[in-house]
Symmetry: C2
Subunit: 267 residues, 2 copies
Protein backbone atom coordinates (compact mmCIF):
# COMPACT_ATOMS: atom_id res chain seq x y z
CA UNK A 1 0.00 0.00 0.00
CA UNK A 2 2.81 2.41 0.91
CA UNK A 3 6.54 2.29 0.20
CA UNK A 4 7.73 1.80 3.77
CA UNK A 5 4.68 1.21 5.90
CA UNK A 6 6.67 0.95 9.13
CA UNK A 7 7.63 4.58 8.63
CA UNK A 8 4.25 5.66 7.39
CA UNK A 9 2.62 8.31 9.50
CA UNK A 10 -0.47 6.13 9.25
CA UNK A 11 1.12 3.10 10.89
CA UNK A 12 -0.71 2.59 14.20
CA UNK A 13 1.84 1.70 16.89
CA UNK A 14 -0.88 0.95 19.46
CA UNK A 15 -2.32 -1.75 17.20
CA UNK A 16 1.10 -3.29 16.57
CA UNK A 17 1.83 -3.32 20.31
CA UNK A 18 -1.46 -4.99 21.16
CA UNK A 19 -0.92 -7.71 18.58
CA UNK A 20 2.63 -8.25 19.83
CA UNK A 21 1.14 -8.84 23.28
CA UNK A 22 -1.10 -11.59 21.87
CA UNK A 23 1.85 -13.08 19.97
CA UNK A 24 4.10 -13.25 23.05
CA UNK A 25 2.14 -16.11 24.65
CA UNK A 26 3.16 -19.65 23.76
CA UNK A 27 3.54 -23.13 25.24
CA UNK A 28 6.60 -22.04 27.22
CA UNK A 29 4.89 -18.82 28.37
CA UNK A 30 1.21 -19.69 28.86
CA UNK A 31 0.63 -17.11 31.59
CA UNK A 32 2.69 -14.10 32.58
CA UNK A 33 2.68 -11.06 34.84
CA UNK A 34 2.43 -7.55 33.45
CA UNK A 35 6.16 -6.99 33.84
CA UNK A 36 7.01 -10.32 32.19
CA UNK A 37 4.82 -9.41 29.22
CA UNK A 38 6.30 -5.91 28.98
CA UNK A 39 9.81 -7.37 29.00
CA UNK A 40 9.02 -10.08 26.44
CA UNK A 41 7.42 -7.67 23.98
CA UNK A 42 9.83 -4.81 24.62
CA UNK A 43 7.16 -2.40 25.81
CA UNK A 44 7.00 -0.06 28.79
CA UNK A 45 4.86 -1.47 31.60
CA UNK A 46 2.38 1.37 30.99
CA UNK A 47 2.00 0.47 27.30
CA UNK A 48 1.71 -3.24 28.10
CA UNK A 49 -0.93 -2.41 30.71
CA UNK A 50 -3.01 -0.41 28.21
CA UNK A 51 -2.82 -3.28 25.70
CA UNK A 52 -3.84 -5.81 28.37
CA UNK A 53 -6.76 -3.66 29.58
CA UNK A 54 -8.00 -3.38 26.02
CA UNK A 55 -7.51 -7.06 25.15
CA UNK A 56 -9.23 -8.04 28.43
CA UNK A 57 -12.20 -5.79 27.69
CA UNK A 58 -12.47 -7.34 24.23
CA UNK A 59 -12.39 -10.88 25.66
CA UNK A 60 -9.06 -12.02 24.21
CA UNK A 61 -7.10 -12.01 27.47
CA UNK A 62 -8.02 -13.10 30.99
CA UNK A 63 -6.27 -12.81 34.33
CA UNK A 64 -6.13 -14.74 37.55
CA UNK A 65 -4.39 -12.83 40.33
CA UNK A 66 -1.45 -11.06 38.74
CA UNK A 67 -1.07 -13.48 35.84
CA UNK A 68 -2.49 -12.90 32.37
CA UNK A 69 -3.34 -15.59 29.79
CA UNK A 70 -4.99 -15.83 26.38
CA UNK A 71 -8.66 -16.72 26.14
CA UNK A 72 -10.08 -19.01 23.43
CA UNK A 73 -11.60 -16.06 21.59
CA UNK A 74 -8.16 -15.36 20.05
CA UNK A 75 -8.72 -18.46 17.96
CA UNK A 76 -11.59 -16.76 16.18
CA UNK A 77 -9.05 -14.32 14.66
CA UNK A 78 -7.37 -17.19 12.84
CA UNK A 79 -10.58 -18.87 11.86
CA UNK A 80 -11.47 -15.80 9.77
CA UNK A 81 -8.65 -16.65 7.39
CA UNK A 82 -9.39 -20.36 7.58
CA UNK A 83 -13.00 -19.97 6.46
CA UNK A 84 -12.40 -17.06 4.09
CA UNK A 85 -9.76 -19.03 2.18
CA UNK A 86 -11.94 -22.19 2.28
CA UNK A 87 -9.02 -24.20 3.63
CA UNK A 88 -11.31 -26.97 4.84
CA UNK A 89 -13.22 -27.31 1.59
CA UNK A 90 -10.35 -27.10 -0.87
CA UNK A 91 -7.11 -28.13 0.83
CA UNK A 92 -8.19 -30.69 3.42
CA UNK A 93 -9.66 -33.19 0.92
CA UNK A 94 -6.29 -33.29 -0.88
CA UNK A 95 -4.43 -33.91 2.37
CA UNK A 96 -6.90 -36.62 3.39
CA UNK A 97 -6.33 -38.42 0.14
CA UNK A 98 -2.54 -38.34 0.59
CA UNK A 99 -2.91 -39.69 4.13
CA UNK A 100 -5.38 -42.37 3.05
CA UNK A 101 -2.96 -43.56 0.37
CA UNK A 102 0.35 -43.22 2.17
CA UNK A 103 -0.52 -42.92 5.87
CA UNK A 104 0.95 -40.73 8.56
CA UNK A 105 0.50 -37.00 8.00
CA UNK A 106 0.28 -34.37 5.26
CA UNK A 107 0.48 -30.59 5.50
CA UNK A 108 0.33 -27.43 3.42
CA UNK A 109 2.39 -24.41 4.46
CA UNK A 110 3.43 -20.96 3.35
CA UNK A 111 6.52 -18.92 4.09
CA UNK A 112 6.37 -16.11 6.65
CA UNK A 113 9.76 -14.54 7.14
CA UNK A 114 12.16 -17.25 8.28
CA UNK A 115 9.33 -19.58 9.29
CA UNK A 116 6.74 -21.74 7.62
CA UNK A 117 3.13 -21.41 8.77
CA UNK A 118 0.90 -24.48 8.46
CA UNK A 119 -2.35 -23.56 6.75
CA UNK A 120 -3.77 -27.09 6.55
CA UNK A 121 -2.89 -30.37 8.20
CA UNK A 122 -4.26 -33.88 8.31
CA UNK A 123 -2.89 -36.88 10.12
CA UNK A 124 -3.83 -40.37 11.12
CA UNK A 125 -2.99 -39.21 14.63
CA UNK A 126 -1.74 -42.62 15.65
CA UNK A 127 -0.81 -41.94 19.26
CA UNK A 128 2.58 -40.41 18.56
CA UNK A 129 2.09 -36.66 18.64
CA UNK A 130 -0.18 -33.92 17.47
CA UNK A 131 2.74 -31.80 16.32
CA UNK A 132 1.60 -29.87 13.33
CA UNK A 133 -1.49 -27.79 13.88
CA UNK A 134 -2.93 -25.17 11.61
CA UNK A 135 -1.36 -21.81 12.44
CA UNK A 136 1.73 -23.42 13.92
CA UNK A 137 5.03 -21.97 12.79
CA UNK A 138 8.34 -23.78 12.45
CA UNK A 139 11.76 -22.62 11.25
CA UNK A 140 11.82 -22.99 7.46
CA UNK A 141 15.38 -24.36 7.31
CA UNK A 142 14.41 -27.46 9.32
CA UNK A 143 11.38 -28.59 7.30
CA UNK A 144 10.88 -30.11 3.85
CA UNK A 145 8.11 -27.55 3.24
CA UNK A 146 10.41 -24.68 4.18
CA UNK A 147 13.26 -25.82 1.93
CA UNK A 148 10.95 -26.09 -1.07
CA UNK A 149 9.48 -22.66 -0.29
CA UNK A 150 12.92 -21.10 0.10
CA UNK A 151 13.98 -22.71 -3.19
CA UNK A 152 11.04 -20.95 -4.83
CA UNK A 153 12.03 -17.47 -3.66
CA UNK A 154 13.41 -14.91 -6.12
CA UNK A 155 17.23 -14.86 -5.86
CA UNK A 156 17.40 -11.50 -4.10
CA UNK A 157 14.96 -12.65 -1.42
CA UNK A 158 16.88 -15.87 -0.88
CA UNK A 159 20.10 -13.83 -0.50
CA UNK A 160 18.33 -11.67 2.09
CA UNK A 161 17.17 -14.79 3.94
CA UNK A 162 20.71 -16.15 4.13
CA UNK A 163 22.10 -12.76 5.16
CA UNK A 164 19.75 -12.65 8.15
CA UNK A 165 18.93 -16.20 9.20
CA UNK A 166 20.65 -17.87 12.16
CA UNK A 167 19.70 -21.53 11.59
CA UNK A 168 19.17 -23.27 14.92
CA UNK A 169 19.67 -26.96 15.62
CA UNK A 170 16.40 -28.57 16.68
CA UNK A 171 17.92 -32.05 16.77
CA UNK A 172 21.53 -33.18 16.60
CA UNK A 173 20.94 -33.82 12.89
CA UNK A 174 19.53 -30.39 11.91
CA UNK A 175 21.64 -28.80 9.19
CA UNK A 176 22.69 -25.36 10.48
CA UNK A 177 25.73 -24.67 8.31
CA UNK A 178 24.64 -22.01 5.83
CA UNK A 179 26.66 -23.40 2.93
CA UNK A 180 25.30 -26.90 3.44
CA UNK A 181 21.79 -25.51 3.77
CA UNK A 182 22.22 -23.43 0.63
CA UNK A 183 23.28 -26.56 -1.28
CA UNK A 184 20.19 -28.44 -0.04
CA UNK A 185 17.89 -25.59 -1.04
CA UNK A 186 19.49 -25.31 -4.48
CA UNK A 187 19.06 -29.06 -4.89
CA UNK A 188 15.40 -28.80 -3.87
CA UNK A 189 14.95 -26.11 -6.54
CA UNK A 190 16.57 -28.27 -9.22
CA UNK A 191 14.74 -31.48 -8.37
CA UNK A 192 11.41 -29.86 -7.54
CA UNK A 193 11.18 -31.54 -4.15
CA UNK A 194 12.89 -31.69 -0.77
CA UNK A 195 13.30 -34.51 1.73
CA UNK A 196 14.23 -34.18 5.38
CA UNK A 197 15.11 -36.73 8.06
CA UNK A 198 15.02 -35.81 11.76
CA UNK A 199 15.57 -32.11 11.03
CA UNK A 200 12.66 -30.55 12.93
CA UNK A 201 12.37 -33.34 15.46
CA UNK A 202 13.57 -36.90 15.83
CA UNK A 203 11.43 -39.45 14.04
CA UNK A 204 10.06 -37.22 11.28
CA UNK A 205 10.93 -37.99 7.66
CA UNK A 206 9.19 -35.81 5.10
CA UNK A 207 8.90 -35.11 1.40
CA UNK A 208 7.59 -31.76 0.07
CA UNK A 209 6.80 -30.34 -3.36
CA UNK A 210 5.98 -26.75 -4.36
CA UNK A 211 2.51 -25.42 -5.17
CA UNK A 212 2.63 -22.77 -7.88
CA UNK A 213 0.23 -19.95 -8.69
CA UNK A 214 -1.09 -19.09 -12.14
CA UNK A 215 2.15 -17.19 -12.95
CA UNK A 216 4.29 -20.15 -11.93
CA UNK A 217 5.57 -18.59 -8.71
CA UNK A 218 5.91 -20.92 -5.70
CA UNK A 219 3.38 -19.68 -3.13
CA UNK A 220 2.86 -22.74 -0.93
CA UNK A 221 4.10 -26.29 -0.49
CA UNK A 222 2.54 -29.64 0.34
CA UNK A 223 4.24 -32.51 2.11
CA UNK A 224 3.78 -36.07 3.25
CA UNK A 225 5.55 -37.26 6.37
CA UNK A 226 6.20 -40.51 8.14
CA UNK A 227 8.16 -42.06 10.95
CA UNK A 228 11.91 -42.15 10.31
CA UNK A 229 12.18 -45.66 11.71
CA UNK A 230 9.69 -46.99 9.16
CA UNK A 231 10.34 -45.11 5.94
CA UNK A 232 13.45 -43.80 4.18
CA UNK A 233 13.47 -40.58 2.14
CA UNK A 234 14.37 -42.62 -0.98
CA UNK A 235 11.36 -44.85 -0.45
CA UNK A 236 9.21 -41.80 0.06
CA UNK A 237 10.35 -40.29 -3.24
CA UNK A 238 9.64 -43.58 -5.04
CA UNK A 239 6.24 -44.11 -3.46
CA UNK A 240 4.85 -40.64 -2.85
CA UNK A 241 6.41 -38.03 -5.16
CA UNK A 242 4.00 -38.67 -8.02
CA UNK A 243 0.92 -38.40 -5.83
CA UNK A 244 2.23 -35.26 -4.14
CA UNK A 245 2.82 -33.61 -7.51
CA UNK A 246 -0.69 -34.51 -8.65
CA UNK A 247 -2.09 -33.03 -5.43
CA UNK A 248 -0.01 -29.86 -5.87
CA UNK A 249 -1.32 -29.50 -9.42
CA UNK A 250 -4.92 -29.93 -8.34
CA UNK A 251 -4.46 -27.40 -5.53
CA UNK A 252 -3.01 -24.89 -8.01
CA UNK A 253 -5.96 -25.40 -10.30
CA UNK A 254 -8.50 -25.12 -7.46
CA UNK A 255 -6.82 -21.97 -6.14
CA UNK A 256 -6.97 -20.39 -9.58
CA UNK A 257 -10.75 -20.93 -9.52
CA UNK A 258 -11.16 -19.64 -5.94
CA UNK A 259 -10.41 -15.93 -5.57
CA UNK A 260 -10.08 -15.93 -1.76
CA UNK A 261 -7.69 -18.88 -1.67
CA UNK A 262 -5.77 -17.55 -4.63
CA UNK A 263 -5.45 -14.15 -2.93
CA UNK A 264 -4.33 -15.75 0.32
CA UNK A 265 -1.72 -17.86 -1.46
CA UNK A 266 -0.47 -15.03 -3.63
CA UNK A 267 -0.55 -12.23 -1.10
Amino acid sequence: MVEDPKRSAEFVEALAKGIAVIECFDAAHPDMTLSEIARRVGLSPAAARRSLITLSALGYVGSVGKRFFLKPKVMTLGSGFYFAARIDEILLPELRQIVETHGDAASIAMLDGHDVIYIAHHSTQRARRATAVVGARYPAHATSLGRVLLAGLPKTELERYFARVEPKALTSRTVTDKNALRALIDEAGERGYATTVDQLDYGITALAVPIRNAEGRVTAAVNSSGYSGLVSPEQMVTDRLGDLRVAAGRISAAAARTPALSAALNG
Copy 2:
Protein backbone atom coordinates in the same frame (compact mmCIF):
# COMPACT_ATOMS: atom_id res chain seq x y z
CA MET B 1 -8.49 -5.21 35.92
CA VAL B 2 -10.70 -2.14 35.98
CA GLU B 3 -14.36 -1.69 36.78
CA ASP B 4 -15.53 -0.68 33.33
CA PRO B 5 -12.68 -1.20 30.96
CA LYS B 6 -14.57 0.12 27.94
CA ARG B 7 -14.75 3.47 29.69
CA SER B 8 -11.21 3.31 31.05
CA ALA B 9 -8.98 6.09 29.85
CA GLU B 10 -6.46 3.31 29.23
CA PHE B 11 -8.67 1.47 26.71
CA VAL B 12 -6.87 1.71 23.36
CA GLU B 13 -9.43 2.39 20.63
CA ALA B 14 -6.87 1.95 17.86
CA LEU B 15 -6.17 -1.61 19.01
CA ALA B 16 -9.87 -2.45 19.22
CA LYS B 17 -10.44 -1.05 15.73
CA GLY B 18 -7.57 -3.04 14.23
CA ILE B 19 -8.83 -6.27 15.75
CA ALA B 20 -12.35 -5.53 14.53
CA VAL B 21 -10.90 -5.24 11.03
CA ILE B 22 -9.41 -8.74 11.33
CA GLU B 23 -12.70 -10.08 12.74
CA CYS B 24 -14.80 -8.66 9.88
CA PHE B 25 -13.47 -11.18 7.33
CA ASP B 26 -15.32 -14.49 7.02
CA ALA B 27 -16.41 -17.08 4.46
CA ALA B 28 -19.06 -14.71 3.10
CA HIS B 29 -16.62 -11.77 3.03
CA PRO B 30 -13.23 -13.25 2.13
CA ASP B 31 -11.98 -10.10 0.41
CA MET B 32 -13.25 -6.54 0.58
CA THR B 33 -12.44 -3.02 -0.51
CA LEU B 34 -11.46 -0.33 1.97
CA SER B 35 -14.93 1.15 1.97
CA GLU B 36 -16.60 -2.25 2.41
CA ILE B 37 -14.38 -2.92 5.41
CA ALA B 38 -15.03 0.52 6.89
CA ARG B 39 -18.77 0.01 6.52
CA ARG B 40 -18.75 -3.51 7.96
CA VAL B 41 -16.71 -2.52 11.03
CA GLY B 42 -18.38 0.86 11.49
CA LEU B 43 -15.18 2.87 11.08
CA SER B 44 -14.37 5.97 9.09
CA PRO B 45 -12.51 5.14 5.86
CA ALA B 46 -9.48 6.96 7.30
CA ALA B 47 -9.46 4.81 10.45
CA ALA B 48 -9.98 1.63 8.43
CA ARG B 49 -7.12 2.68 6.16
CA ARG B 50 -4.75 3.16 9.09
CA SER B 51 -5.69 -0.25 10.48
CA LEU B 52 -5.17 -1.89 7.09
CA ILE B 53 -1.80 -0.18 6.55
CA THR B 54 -0.66 -1.41 9.95
CA LEU B 55 -2.00 -4.94 9.52
CA SER B 56 -0.43 -5.12 6.04
CA ALA B 57 2.95 -3.99 7.38
CA LEU B 58 2.71 -6.64 10.11
CA GLY B 59 1.88 -9.36 7.57
CA TYR B 60 -1.68 -10.14 8.67
CA VAL B 61 -3.45 -8.59 5.70
CA GLY B 62 -2.65 -8.62 1.99
CA SER B 63 -4.14 -6.82 -0.98
CA VAL B 64 -4.60 -7.44 -4.67
CA GLY B 65 -5.73 -4.38 -6.55
CA LYS B 66 -8.28 -2.64 -4.34
CA ARG B 67 -9.30 -5.74 -2.42
CA PHE B 68 -7.94 -6.71 0.98
CA PHE B 69 -7.83 -10.21 2.46
CA LEU B 70 -6.42 -11.96 5.51
CA LYS B 71 -3.06 -13.69 5.29
CA PRO B 72 -2.30 -17.03 6.99
CA LYS B 73 -0.23 -15.30 9.65
CA VAL B 74 -3.47 -14.39 11.49
CA MET B 75 -3.71 -18.07 12.37
CA THR B 76 -0.61 -17.77 14.52
CA LEU B 77 -2.58 -15.49 16.85
CA GLY B 78 -4.94 -18.32 17.69
CA SER B 79 -2.21 -20.93 17.90
CA GLY B 80 -0.76 -19.03 20.88
CA PHE B 81 -3.79 -19.98 22.94
CA TYR B 82 -3.91 -23.46 21.48
CA PHE B 83 -0.37 -24.31 22.50
CA ALA B 84 -0.36 -22.32 25.76
CA ALA B 85 -3.46 -24.15 26.99
CA ARG B 86 -2.07 -27.50 25.76
CA ILE B 87 -5.30 -28.21 23.90
CA ASP B 88 -3.65 -30.85 21.74
CA GLU B 89 -2.01 -32.71 24.60
CA ILE B 90 -4.87 -32.69 27.09
CA LEU B 91 -8.17 -32.32 25.27
CA LEU B 92 -7.58 -34.03 21.93
CA PRO B 93 -6.82 -37.49 23.36
CA GLU B 94 -10.20 -37.44 25.16
CA LEU B 95 -12.00 -36.49 21.95
CA ARG B 96 -10.17 -39.16 19.99
CA GLN B 97 -11.28 -41.79 22.45
CA ILE B 98 -14.92 -40.70 22.18
CA VAL B 99 -14.70 -40.81 18.39
CA GLU B 100 -12.96 -44.20 18.40
CA THR B 101 -15.69 -45.65 20.61
CA HIS B 102 -18.76 -43.96 19.13
CA GLY B 103 -17.67 -42.64 15.75
CA ASP B 104 -18.49 -39.39 14.01
CA ALA B 105 -17.25 -36.28 15.79
CA ALA B 106 -16.57 -34.86 19.24
CA SER B 107 -15.91 -31.28 20.32
CA ILE B 108 -15.14 -29.14 23.35
CA ALA B 109 -16.42 -25.57 23.48
CA MET B 110 -16.71 -22.55 25.74
CA LEU B 111 -19.23 -19.74 25.84
CA ASP B 112 -18.34 -16.35 24.39
CA GLY B 113 -21.27 -13.96 24.59
CA HIS B 114 -24.15 -15.51 22.66
CA ASP B 115 -21.88 -17.94 20.85
CA VAL B 116 -19.92 -21.06 21.56
CA ILE B 117 -16.28 -21.19 20.48
CA TYR B 118 -14.82 -24.59 19.63
CA ILE B 119 -11.52 -25.07 21.45
CA ALA B 120 -10.94 -28.68 20.40
CA HIS B 121 -12.47 -30.92 17.74
CA HIS B 122 -11.90 -34.39 16.40
CA SER B 123 -13.82 -36.19 13.72
CA THR B 124 -13.63 -39.28 11.57
CA GLN B 125 -14.02 -36.86 8.67
CA ARG B 126 -15.89 -39.36 6.62
CA ALA B 127 -16.48 -37.30 3.50
CA ARG B 128 -19.53 -35.43 4.74
CA ARG B 129 -18.26 -32.07 5.93
CA ALA B 130 -15.52 -30.44 7.93
CA THR B 131 -17.91 -28.22 9.82
CA ALA B 132 -16.51 -27.72 13.26
CA VAL B 133 -13.00 -26.34 13.32
CA VAL B 134 -11.10 -25.03 16.30
CA GLY B 135 -11.83 -21.33 16.72
CA ALA B 136 -15.14 -21.60 14.91
CA ARG B 137 -18.08 -19.90 16.57
CA TYR B 138 -21.72 -20.92 16.38
CA PRO B 139 -24.85 -19.50 18.03
CA ALA B 140 -25.14 -21.12 21.47
CA HIS B 141 -28.92 -21.60 21.26
CA ALA B 142 -28.60 -23.97 18.30
CA THR B 143 -25.99 -26.37 19.70
CA SER B 144 -26.00 -29.05 22.40
CA LEU B 145 -22.77 -27.55 23.76
CA GLY B 146 -24.31 -24.09 23.96
CA ARG B 147 -27.43 -25.27 25.76
CA VAL B 148 -25.39 -27.05 28.40
CA LEU B 149 -23.15 -23.99 28.78
CA LEU B 150 -26.14 -21.65 29.07
CA ALA B 151 -27.69 -23.98 31.66
CA GLY B 152 -24.49 -23.61 33.69
CA LEU B 153 -24.62 -19.81 33.81
CA PRO B 154 -25.49 -18.00 37.04
CA LYS B 155 -29.21 -17.01 36.97
CA THR B 156 -28.52 -13.29 36.44
CA GLU B 157 -26.28 -13.99 33.46
CA LEU B 158 -28.86 -16.31 31.92
CA GLU B 159 -31.51 -13.58 32.36
CA ARG B 160 -29.19 -11.14 30.62
CA TYR B 161 -28.68 -13.63 27.78
CA PHE B 162 -32.42 -13.99 27.25
CA ALA B 163 -32.96 -10.24 27.50
CA ARG B 164 -30.52 -9.65 24.66
CA VAL B 165 -30.47 -12.71 22.41
CA GLU B 166 -32.38 -12.87 19.13
CA PRO B 167 -32.30 -16.61 18.38
CA LYS B 168 -32.02 -17.19 14.64
CA ALA B 169 -33.31 -20.19 12.75
CA LEU B 170 -30.44 -22.03 11.08
CA THR B 171 -32.68 -24.83 9.86
CA SER B 172 -36.47 -25.10 9.75
CA ARG B 173 -36.21 -27.08 13.00
CA THR B 174 -34.11 -24.62 15.04
CA VAL B 175 -35.93 -23.60 18.22
CA THR B 176 -36.12 -19.81 18.21
CA ASP B 177 -39.03 -19.22 20.60
CA LYS B 178 -37.47 -17.88 23.79
CA ASN B 179 -39.89 -19.69 26.11
CA ALA B 180 -39.32 -23.01 24.40
CA LEU B 181 -35.58 -22.43 24.43
CA ARG B 182 -35.68 -21.50 28.11
CA ALA B 183 -37.49 -24.75 28.89
CA LEU B 184 -34.86 -26.76 26.96
CA ILE B 185 -32.03 -25.03 28.79
CA ASP B 186 -33.67 -25.58 32.18
CA GLU B 187 -34.12 -29.23 31.26
CA ALA B 188 -30.45 -29.47 30.27
CA GLY B 189 -29.54 -28.03 33.67
CA GLU B 190 -31.73 -30.54 35.52
CA ARG B 191 -30.62 -33.58 33.54
CA GLY B 192 -26.98 -32.60 33.22
CA TYR B 193 -26.98 -33.01 29.45
CA ALA B 194 -28.54 -31.61 26.27
CA THR B 195 -29.44 -33.24 22.99
CA THR B 196 -30.10 -31.49 19.70
CA VAL B 197 -31.41 -32.70 16.35
CA ASP B 198 -30.95 -30.63 13.19
CA GLN B 199 -30.68 -27.38 15.14
CA LEU B 200 -27.42 -25.96 13.78
CA ASP B 201 -27.63 -27.74 10.46
CA TYR B 202 -29.60 -30.59 8.91
CA GLY B 203 -28.16 -33.99 9.67
CA ILE B 204 -26.45 -33.21 12.97
CA THR B 205 -27.65 -34.94 16.14
CA ALA B 206 -25.58 -34.21 19.23
CA LEU B 207 -25.30 -34.90 22.94
CA ALA B 208 -23.34 -32.59 25.29
CA VAL B 209 -22.41 -32.63 28.96
CA PRO B 210 -20.84 -29.88 31.09
CA ILE B 211 -17.21 -29.73 32.17
CA ARG B 212 -16.85 -28.20 35.62
CA ASN B 213 -13.91 -26.44 37.26
CA ALA B 214 -12.58 -27.13 40.75
CA GLU B 215 -15.33 -24.94 42.28
CA GLY B 216 -18.04 -26.80 40.40
CA ARG B 217 -18.80 -24.00 37.95
CA VAL B 218 -19.53 -25.03 34.32
CA THR B 219 -16.67 -23.60 32.26
CA ALA B 220 -16.76 -25.76 29.13
CA ALA B 221 -18.74 -28.57 27.54
CA VAL B 222 -17.92 -31.71 25.58
CA ASN B 223 -20.14 -33.34 22.99
CA SER B 224 -20.45 -36.30 20.69
CA SER B 225 -22.30 -35.92 17.41
CA GLY B 226 -23.58 -38.13 14.67
CA TYR B 227 -25.71 -38.17 11.55
CA SER B 228 -29.40 -37.61 12.26
CA GLY B 229 -30.37 -40.28 9.76
CA LEU B 230 -28.37 -42.93 11.63
CA VAL B 231 -28.73 -42.15 15.32
CA SER B 232 -31.54 -40.85 17.51
CA PRO B 233 -30.95 -38.61 20.53
CA GLU B 234 -32.41 -41.32 22.80
CA GLN B 235 -29.97 -43.88 21.44
CA MET B 236 -27.15 -41.39 21.93
CA VAL B 237 -28.08 -40.88 25.58
CA THR B 238 -28.20 -44.65 26.12
CA ASP B 239 -24.94 -45.36 24.33
CA ARG B 240 -22.78 -42.30 24.90
CA LEU B 241 -23.83 -40.35 28.01
CA GLY B 242 -21.75 -42.45 30.40
CA ASP B 243 -18.59 -42.15 28.32
CA LEU B 244 -19.09 -38.43 27.85
CA ARG B 245 -19.43 -37.92 31.60
CA VAL B 246 -16.27 -39.93 32.24
CA ALA B 247 -14.43 -37.79 29.67
CA ALA B 248 -15.77 -34.58 31.24
CA GLY B 249 -14.58 -35.75 34.64
CA ARG B 250 -11.13 -36.60 33.35
CA ILE B 251 -10.87 -33.23 31.58
CA SER B 252 -11.84 -31.45 34.83
CA ALA B 253 -9.16 -33.35 36.69
CA ALA B 254 -6.52 -32.71 34.03
CA ALA B 255 -7.39 -29.00 33.92
CA ALA B 256 -7.04 -28.77 37.69
CA ARG B 257 -3.48 -30.09 37.32
CA THR B 258 -2.62 -27.80 34.38
CA PRO B 259 -2.49 -24.10 35.32
CA ALA B 260 -2.64 -22.74 31.76
CA LEU B 261 -5.64 -24.84 30.76
CA SER B 262 -7.34 -24.20 34.05
CA ALA B 263 -6.82 -20.45 33.64
CA ALA B 264 -8.13 -20.57 30.08
CA LEU B 265 -11.21 -22.50 31.12
CA ASN B 266 -11.88 -20.37 34.17
CA GLY B 267 -11.02 -16.97 32.72
